[in-house]
Symmetry: C2
Subunit: 247 residues, 2 copies
């Protein structure tokens, strides 16, 4: 079993000072990329077993099946001998995919980024370091940011890394978990991801990413959160869904 | 590693005479249910590695993490020494979940089952034995069944097991893969599942299930297929998404 020693940074922390799940998943994806013969994470499904912590970690990987077009592997992120995340991932070469295209969905309807409002995260608790990694721009910021949740947990916004680094195929699984949970718009304090599945649909062009997130079914405390990412040229590049539990 | 010997029946075959992916997943889910301490498959994510075949199989399971409310395991369905499906599953007791409920989605708008048309599957090739396991009722059958695909791969219909057995939590993962692919409505011949993730949102009441399926993004041959299952009392009981490749 190949093991990739790594360090979980404290720069991607969410509420409670624990690392963001999408960040832990991105560490798994990077190790899978080094294990599998194809370059792009076509689909990755991750179970979040327990909270991680900033500090050392090992990502153990396994090549499960090597196919000509698609290869599948498994990654386990382990800290202090305990498994924190287990992820199954299938990789392919998206540049070599050449089948039919029919897109019936539409990108988010947003004014250009320069005409949108940058989300002011200065009042965010300092333990939530992840907000400094991204810049978010909204046509109208969510109600919960003004203490007035609207009851409709559905948002569209622009996003990019605040340091100007372009988002690529290996960092898209991070982006789909980059925003505050949609259930904040229902007046909830937060929620914990049980499982997150990401589909990569294309390599993003450099620039802003147009995001659409929503929760439509909160049932007995469990809810889905759907996330779409479209690049600045109007192409869908990622689609994800997570199952989460209100905290 | 516990191993559950089983037989893959030939009664759930799809095109090509291979077993349906949802059926193979249901075999994994049954073995996970025998491995994990909680009764309901809350979320299951499966990678389809190679086609299965009717005949003997082993399902090997692993208890990955036992939590008080949620337990996670892994199952591998193996035939002839080759891994066919790998599934990660988290189980819980849905009857014990007691958090908040806010449902913003709506069940399919269908006339009552008795006023719908039963799908005539008599012209289906005999190798496709799975059509005899289900009864499907449509307000209006899909265009592809008349050789006239509409170009809009979105369907709503009633479904039940043809032998009258009620669908329960352990068989819901089978139901979300029970219909012909939505892309047939784009004039395509079929498609192969790469990955399928199912969320269980409730235990279904006995009776008909109202299903909604759609594909909105076919890109370079890859597409998602979304599936919702609502029970006859109007409660969402399952939500799934798969990533598939046109065949």
């Amino acid at each position: 079993v190949p093991a990739f020693p790594t360090t979980v940074s404290d720069r991607w922390n969410i509420i409670g000072g624990v690392p963001n799940g999408g960040y832990l998943l991105a560490l798994c994806v990077r190790a899978l990329a080094a294990t599998l013969p194809h370059p792009d994470p076509l689909v990755v499904a991750a179970s979040f077993l327990r909270p991680g912590a900033p500090g050392p970690a090992d990502v153990q990987t396994e090549l499960v099946r090597r196919g000509r077009r698609i290869a599948t592997g498994e990654a386990r992120l382990v800290q202090d001998g305990k498994e924190v995340v287990r992820a199954l991932g299938s990789f392919a070469d998206l540049a070599a995919a050449n089948g039919r295209t029919v897109v019936l969905g539409e990108p988010p309807r947003l004014p250009p980024p320069d005409e949108c409002e940058t989300l002011d995260t200065s009042a965010s608790p300092p333990e939530i370091s992840i907000v400094n990694r991204y810049e978010y721009r909204f046509a109208e910021p969510p109600g919960w940011t003004r203490g007035q949740p609207s009851g409709d947990p559905r948002h569209e916004f622009w996003l990019r890394f605040s340091d100007g680094r372009p988002v690529d195929a290996l960092t898209l699984p991070l982006v789909v978990d980059a925003a505050a949970p949609a259930v904040l718009e229902l007046g909830e304090a937060g929620s914990s991801t049980v499982e997150l599945t990401v589909h990569l649909r294309g390599r993003p062009e450099p620039g802003w990413l147009a995001c659409r997130m929503s929760t439509r079914h909160l049932i007995d405390g469990f809810h889905e959160e759907d996330f779409e990412v479209w690049d600045e040229t109007g192409r869908l590049v990622a689609q994800s869904r997570q199952l989460a539990l209100l905290s």
